[in-house]
Structures are given as C-alpha cells and as structure tokens.
C-alpha cells in the first residue's frame, strides 16, 4: 500500500485542513503577540534610558545653577524658585521628545519647575504619592504600566530631579478583545468555508454516484449539469454514456444484420436450387412452346436470382483481400453499367476524377457499391436532370461523391436509409444501400449522405493506403 501523507478519506482531509488552519491562526496570533510585547519592551527600554539621561541633566543643570549663580535658588521664595527651575527644565527637556519632568523639594514636599515642552496638548504632573516614592529612591528608574519614571538626587541640595515618559501602547487594533474576536471570526469563517466545500463536494459525488447507478440500466440517462470542477466530470461521463449508447446501438444493428444474413443466406440457398430447376425447365419449354411468353417467365426468374445474389452478398461475411486499385477504371466500368438507364431518363453525367487516385479495396465490391449509388442517383434525378460524380483525395482517404439534383430524401426516411429492406421505391428491395454500406465498412471505408431540397450527395470514403481496419 503506498504511503499517504494526508488521510485518504475526504472527511479526514477536511478535518486535517481545519486543524492545520486553526494551528496556523493560533501560531500567527502568538507571533503577533510576541512581536507586540517585544516592541513594547523595546520602547520601554528606550524610554528608561531617555528618562535617566534627562533626569541626570536636570540635576546637573541645577547644581551648576546653584554653584555659579550670584543669587542661589535656595535663597529665593518658592514661587521664584518654581519660575527659575521651570526655565531650567524647559530648556533641558526641549531636547527630550515626550519627556516631562521637573524638581521635587523633598523637605517641603513641593513640586517645582514642572515642564513638558514637547507636549502637544495639555498635561498634568504625576501625583504627590508618585513623586514621594521617587524621592524615596533617588538615582533609580521605575516603570508603572507604560510610564517610566527616573529620579536623580542633586546633593547637597534636598531637591530631587525627576523625569517621566509614557510610551505609546503597541496595541494598534484594540487589544485582547480584538484578537479574540478576530481569531473566533477567522476560525468560524474557515469552518464555514470548509464545511461548505465539503457539502458541495459531497453533493457532487452523490450526483455522480446516482447518475452512474442509473446509467447501469439506462444509457439514455444523463447526469444533471453541475458547477465547477464537477461539470467536467459530469460532461465526461455524459459523453462516455453517449458513445457507449451509440456503440451499443451499432452492436445491436450488427447482431440484427448478422442474424438476418444467416436467415437470408439459408432461405436464398433453399430457394435458389428450385429456382435453377425452374429456369432449366422454362428454357426447355421455350424451345418447344411459345418462346415469347416463356422468355418473360425466364426474365422473372433471373430477377429473382439477382435478388437472391444481393441477399447472399448481404449475409456473407467471408474474408476479403484488398489490393491497391485505380479508382478511375472502377468508376468507368460502373458508369458504363448504368448507361442504358441514364439514356432512358436523359440524365446528364458530370464526371470529375483526380488523376492517379488509388485506394486499397476489393474491386468487385466497390464496383457494386458504385453501381448501386449511380442507379439510385439516376432514378432520383428528374428526367433530363444531372448526376455529378467526383473523386478526390482527402488526407489518407479517397472520397467518391455521387450527387443528384432531385428533390432530396424525405425527413422521415433519412434515419432508415441504411436499414435493410427499407425502401422508398415502389419496386425496390431495400437492400442496395444496406449492402453497399456493409461492403464499405468491411473494407475500412464508410458511406454517408447529405440531402436537401436541391438534391442528395452520397460520399464513399475508401482507405487510400494500408490494410483496412
């Protein structure tokens, strides 16, 4: 048994696809989450460094100011201290995007020199408890949620320098609820999609199975039109059924013909012997009695014999030996054979034969076919009408066409034109076309016709080379 990567059953494949899809979605969610957390952490780390640097610079500038100013800050009232320190912090923090900060006098518990020069909108300083906590742990950096705080002592002063930055939440699409809802929706859509595909395929498979079951007993049944890939399958099955129905019909026809041929051959053989005796007797009588009346009886016996010959030819399935034959002499002989009938109806003959045309056939059978077709055309054409005969090469075949300018074959008769014993002529036997087609089929050829109100054209197709099929 060959190794299979996927489950063999369709249901198993669907389950596998669903499971894989869910796994991929889950993996994607985990990866996005990891990326978001990593990015958030990077932003926090960067903010820690910036806050630490800003707090140090605030402390440095305060010490410088205290050391070099003629009027030390600590000697000023708190209002003036706040004003001057605000000037200091705004100048320092201008270089630090998104960072607010200032000073905190741990002795008086006052916030001094608070500024946020890069803020676009309103802002507020941290709460007193936060600042007290910062003052309790100078020279440190702390993080509360997405906000980073840094504190730096300004010894020997009791003023603490502090800075703060709130980083942007890397959560552009709304957080856990969004991801949960997205995951659920994606899973639901995936599930609906897969189930929908599964149901469609199941329905298609059911239709094909039901159709094939009906076709087992009824070749005329056709599968209903399907959508998508199943339309190709149903079309192929319908075409196969049509071909099989045609083949089946052909086999039945062959069977009927074979059975009929056996019966006809037997009957003809049984009739022919007494008919020969009758003819001999009639010839004997003709010498003794009135020859004219007897000759008429002999003619009728000859006609019966001719009919029997055709019947025998129809039922015979003897092997034949095709040879490469020139088509032109065959046609010439056939045309000469019907000369009298043509003369009586004043039918013109237009004969066009491509030079050096050869077909691999048995000459006698083909000659009989051509005579049949020429006689039919002569009788179908109106008096004074015309029969056109042409022969030419077409691919690996030689095509001989016999066309009359009669009124065409009636529609109801067309399906039965090659049926044995079917005839539209008052005195026809219904064997000419059936026998002709049978002869051609046995030699690898074919016989077809086209008809309209302007006349009928029979086309004989003969193998141009090689042995017949």
């Amino acid at each position: 048994m060959p190794y299979r990567l996927a489950p063999a059953s369709f249901r198993g494949q669907v389950i596998a696809i669903v499971a894989l899809s869910l796994a991929v979605v889950a993996l994607a969610v985990v990866m996005v989450r990891e990326t978001v957390q990593s990015t958030q952490q990077s932003l926090l780390d960067e903010a820690r460094e910036q806050c630490r640097a800003a707090a140090r610079e605030l402390a440095l500038q305060l010490r410088e100011r205290q050391a070099y100013a003629e009027d030390p800050l600590t000697h000023l009232p708190l209002e003036a201290q706040d004003l001057s320190l605000r000037g200091l912090s705004s100048a320092v923090l201008r270089s630090y995007e998104g960072i607010s900060g200032g000073y905190f006098d741990s002795d008086s518990g006052r916030l001094l020199g608070y500024s946020f020069p890069t803020a676009a909108t309103g802002h507020a300083p941290p709460s007193a408890s936060t600042l007290r906590a910062l003052a309790a742990q100078p020279d440190s950096v702390s993080v509360a949620g997405l906000t980073v705080f840094a504190a730096e002592s300004s010894e020997p002063l009791s003023i603490i320098s502090w800075t703060s930055k709130t980083v942007v939440a890397v959560n552009p699409l709304g957080g856990r609820l969004f991801w949960s809802a997205s995951l659920a929706l994606a899973a639901l859509l995936g599930l609906v999609g897969v189930v929908s595909i599964w149901l469609n395929l199941r329905r298609g498979i059911d239709d094909v199975r039901d159709g094939l079951q009906k076709l087992e007993t009824d070749f005329s049944h056709r599968l209903p039109a399907a959508a998508g890939e199943f339309s190709e399958i149903t079309q192929a099955i319908n075409q196969m059924a049509a071909r099989r129905a045609a083949l089946d019909e052909e086999y039945r026809r062959q069977d009927r013909l074979a059975a009929l041929g056996k019966v006809v051959a037997g009957v003809a053989h049984e009739i022919r012997n007494p008919l020969n005796s009758m003819r001999l007797t009639l010839e004997l009588l003709a010498r003794r009695l009135d020859a004219r009346q007897v000759q008429a009886a002999i003619a009728e016996v000859d006609r019966l014999d001719a009919i029997l010959s055709r019947l025998l030819a129809f039922g015979r399935s003897t092997p034949h030996h095709p040879l490469s034959q020139d088509i032109a002499p065959l046609l010439d002989r056939a045309v000469k054979m019907i000369h009298e009938q043509r003369r009586q109806r004043d039918i013109r003959l237009d004969l066009q034969i491509e030079p050096n045309l050869k077909a691999v056939v048995e000459a006698a059978g083909i000659e009989q076919v051509l005579i049949n077709l020429l006689l039919n055309a002569t009788e179908a054409a109106p008096p004074g009408g015309e029969v056109k005969v042409s022969a030419h090469r077409a691919d690996d075949a030689v095509v001989i066409q016999v066309a009359d300018n009669g009124s065409g074959i009636p529609a109801h008769a067309r399906p039965h034109m090659f049926d044995a014993f079917y005839t539209t002529k008052p005195h026809g036997t219904g064997l000419g076309l059936a026998v002709s087609r049978e002869i051609l089929l046995r030699q690898g050829g074919n016989l077809e016709f086209e008809t309209s109100d302007a006349g009928t054209t029979f086309s004989v197709r003969l193998p141009a080379k090689g042995a017949p099929a």
């Binding site: 003036a80 004003l83 006052r110």
Partner: protein, 200 residues
C-alpha cells in the same frame, strides 16, 4: 515679695516685646540698608557705563538699566521686587561693561584658556536657550529684542572662540548670559507666580 515677682514678670514681658519689635526693626532696616547699598552700587555702575556709550548695544543696555533703576527706586516698599529690579539692572550693566571691554581691552589669550572657555560657553549657551521662556514672563515690551541681543552676543562669542580669542569669547558669552539673567530677575520681580500647589 509676691508684688516684686509680679513686677519682674511684667517688666520681662515688656522687655521681650521691646526686643522683638526692636529685632524686627533691625531686620527691616538691614534689608532697607542692603537695598540702598545695592541702589547706590548700581547707580555708580550706571554712571560709569554711561560714560562708555560707545555702541548702540551699550546705549541700549545702559538705557534699560537706567529705567530699571528708576523703577526700583519707586518700588522700595516691596523689597523683593526692588531687589530683583536692581539685580536685573546690575546684570545689564555687567553685560554693557563686558561689551565695552571687548572693544577696548586687548585680547592676549593663552591657548591653555581654551578648555575653560569651552566650558563657560557651554553654560552660556544653555542660558541663552532659556531666553524665550523668561522673556515671555518678564513683561518687557521689547523682551524679544533682549533675547535677540543675547543670541547675537553668544554667536560673536562662538566666533571669537573659533578664532582663538578666548578672553573675548568669555566676555561676550558672559554678556549674553547676563542679559538672560536680567530677564529672569525681571520675571521674578513681575510675575506673581502662584505658590506651587501643596501636594495633597
């Protein structure tokens, strides 16, 4: 005995009150005296600088200092304000003096002064950066011109530093710094900044 003790207590109470009032009077007088000394000092310096009205900038600085001195004299009731105004005037005269010295004193800088000059210019630069903030609070109608002069002085200082004239650079940088100091004093004097909030 009891009466004598009571008299002693009364006398001591009067004595304490006397000394307290006397101490307050002393403190007030001290402040008044310091203010007067500063006023005199600024006035002397102004008189000295006005003799050096050698450039437009000198004249500008001297005139502003003169105006501030007059304002200080009329604001003596508010010691802090008067003190701030006098200090502002003093800073402007300091700047004026530095500007004058730059144009008159020879610059015999030594290369070893380079590092010290760089450090001072760094501080001056940071100070000039605060100019706009204090200008906005100073209440001076032409405070923007003060800041402009300060920046110009710093740029000249920087150019002098690049040229190796370190003493000149320090003087100009100091002048730029002093103008901003004056603005800060004016802001402290004028703006009644509300007390920082008492933390809850």
């Amino acid at each position: 005995m009891k009466t004598a003790f009571s008299l002693l207590l009364i006398l001591s109470g009067f004595g304490s009150a006397f000394f307290a009032v006397h101490a307050y009077d002393d403190k007030d007088k001290k402040a008044e005296r310091r203010l007067q000394e500063r006023t005199d000092s600024v006035a002397k310096k102004l008189a000295r600088c006005q003799a050096w009205n050698t450039s437009d900038l000198n004249r500008f600085l001297n005139s502003k200092a003169s105006a501030l001195l007059e304002r200080a004299k009329t604001s003596r009731a508010d010691h802090f304000m008067a003190d701030r105004l006098l200090r502002a005037a003093g800073e402007l005269l300091e700047a004026s003096e530095e500007v004058f010295k730059v144009s008159t004193k020879p610059d015999d800088s030594a290369p070893k002064e380079k590092a010290e000059t760089a450090r001072e210019l760094e501080k001056d630069y940071f100070r000039v950066q605060q100019g706009d903030y204090f200008a906005g609070l100073s209440g001076e109608a032409d405070a923007a011109a003060w800041v402009k002069h300060s920046r110009s002085l710093y740029q000249q200082a920087r150019a002098a530093y690049d040229a190796g004239r370190f003493r000149k650079a320090r003087r100009l940088g100091h002048a730029a710094d002093a103008v901003i100091d004056a603005l800060e004093y004016l802001a402290q004097a004028r703006v009644r900044v509300p007390e920082p909030p008492r933390l809850p």
